[in-house]
Amino acid sequence: MNRAQRTMIASGLIIVLGGMVFGLYYALFAEHQHLAGMGTSLSTSMAEAASGRLADAQQSLSQYGDVRYNYLRNVHAHSHWSSLGIFLMLLGLALKAVHYDERVCMCLALLLIYGSVAFPMGVWLATLQLGLTAKVFSITGAIALLGGISGYAWGLRPSKQAE
């Protein structure tokens, strides 16, 4: 294994672990509460509407929106960190198929690692009301992932040297 491969595989495993620990924490301490909160607020909203209390119904609906916002982003962070960690390990294992020198491979590795951490991080940070910071991480992370995977795919094309 060269340095770029070791970096990608080790980082991927750490990210998978991080994603799983996050998922376990969320499942134990928050997921059921979020699900119950969504159900309660939405049903309360409709019941308040049935009772003629429209202002209260709108308030409860807004509360439903807030809880759902947090729920979706927590699930997104867990699933994307876990999947991107596996994705990084796979790309690390197959890195020898890419026709770049080691310096470029290392840059590609760092780009993909940054993207794999930052994109889900940005989505999760939105739950902490860190609007601009969250957007910076998610947008730069997405760009890094797209750039990294495009560069990787380009490097797989048959090269004259290989032939």
Binding site: L13, L17, M46, A49, L90, L146, S150
Partner: protein, 366 residues
């Protein structure tokens, strides 16, 4: 050039790789089959019943009956939990299968004793087999006899198995770290990671990267353009249902429920298309590394690869078109999933043959 002449690695009895590859692929097969059955028999009827439930809720608002609202919502909550836990079980079975095969490929680089590695593989596979059924059972078991207020026994088992998997991965990481930080970086001489160079492996590698590229671009567009818009529209359409119901306009309230259902369908199909093409892309990369263990004739190895690639593209494309073409597209997607299942089963049969061949050679040698 077919590279069957390259050195073949053997999956011997007691080798953690063998257990992880076979266990991992079995998990994937179970997850894919379950997902196909769920998509054919449960997904759409469940969605229809949720929409019907919301129409009842709208009528209950018109009638001013708050108790009926809560009763109908209790039913809707059960339907949502039914769908959510089944999707969750499907996803976790497949993802744990992926992780098992990745760990298998990494085994030559994990500097731990062979028996310990095998024991870790056993713990991983057992835990991975407990988690998805535990998640599935959450809907049926609920909080019955649970010692906790909001977490039932099924969730407890699912969380404990997840915790075991985390511990195994930590130990694997430690073993990998010993390799990475060692002064020499050659793995055991007869267990070097073979670079996937056969036609089958290269085809899977290239098609997998193409799927991932498409999936990432599709996901980025969805995240950038549609994601927040859908969330805002969801609240707006729920508000519309309430607004029409409060004025007593039953027809408009029903239409609003229909609009809400269409929105959920649009969002759900886009997310499903993105998730599936990415997952199939990763699976293609994984399978590139196990082709050397598929002990079948060349024409069958190639047929399974082509069948897999066909199904991997058909399913997500058909899912993405489901809102335009309805259940016909859904049916085509299910066929795509079936093709992936059949191809993976074919490859699995080849891997089992390989392990049998290894056992026979060992006995002959002994």
């Amino acid at each position: 050039m077919d590279s069957r002449s390259e050195k073949t690695e053997y999956l011997r009895r007691g080798d953690a790789r063998r257990l992880l590859i076979i266990g991992g692929i079995l998990l994937m097969l179970a997850g894919i089959l379950f997902g196909d059955i769920f998509a054919v028999f449960i997904l759409h009827p469940n969605a229809d019943r949720i929409i019907a439930g919301l129409v009842h809720v709208a009528n209950a608002i018109i009638a001013g009956d708050a108790d009926k609202v809560f009763a109908y919502f209790s039913e809707i909550g059960g339907l949502l939990e039914n769908r959510g836990t089944k999707v969750d079980a499907h996803v976790h079975a497949i993802t744990l299968g992926y992780l098992a095969v990745v760990l298998a490929v990494l085994q030559p680089y994990v500097r731990l004793d062979g028996p310990l590695k095998f024991r870790l593989a056993q713990v991983f596979i057992v835990s991975a087999c407990i988690m998805p059924p535990s998640i599935f059972v959450i809907h049926y078991l609920g909080l019955a006899y649970s010692p906790l207020a909001s977490i039932g026994w099924a969730s407890i088992f699912a969380d404990l198995s997840g915790f075991s998997i985390i511990l195994v991965c930590l130990l694997e990481m430690w073993g990998l770290g010993r390799y990475i930080f060692a002064s020499t970086h050659k793995p055991e001489a007869d267990e070097a990671l073979p670079f996937p160079a056969s036609w089958e492996a290269r085809t899977l590698l290239h098609s997998g990267m193409l799927m991932l590229l498409i999936g990432f671009i599709y996901g980025a567009v969805h995240a950038g353009v549609y994601s927040e818009k859908y969330e805002q529209l969801e609240i707006s359409r729920l508000g519309g249902i309430i607004g029409h119901a409060v004025t007593g306009d039953q027809d408009s309230a029903s239409d609003a429920v229909g609009d809400y259902g269409i929105l959920q369908g649009q969002r759900g199909t886009k997310i499903a298309a993105h998730a599936h093409i990415n997952e199939f892309g990763m699976l293609a990369l994984l399978l590139a590394f196990v082709q050397q263990y598929v002990f079948l004739a060349r024409r069958w190895r190639r047929r399974w690869v082509l069948t897999f690639i066909t199904g991997s593209f058909v399913l997500p494309i058909a899912v993405a078109m489901e809102m335009q073409f309805g259940l016909a597209a859904g049916g085509v997607a299910d066929v795509g999933g079936l093709l992936v299942f059949i191809a993976l089963s074919g490859m699995f049969a080849g891997i089992v043959r390989h392990s049998g061949m290894c056992d026979a050679k060992s006995e002959a040698g002994a």
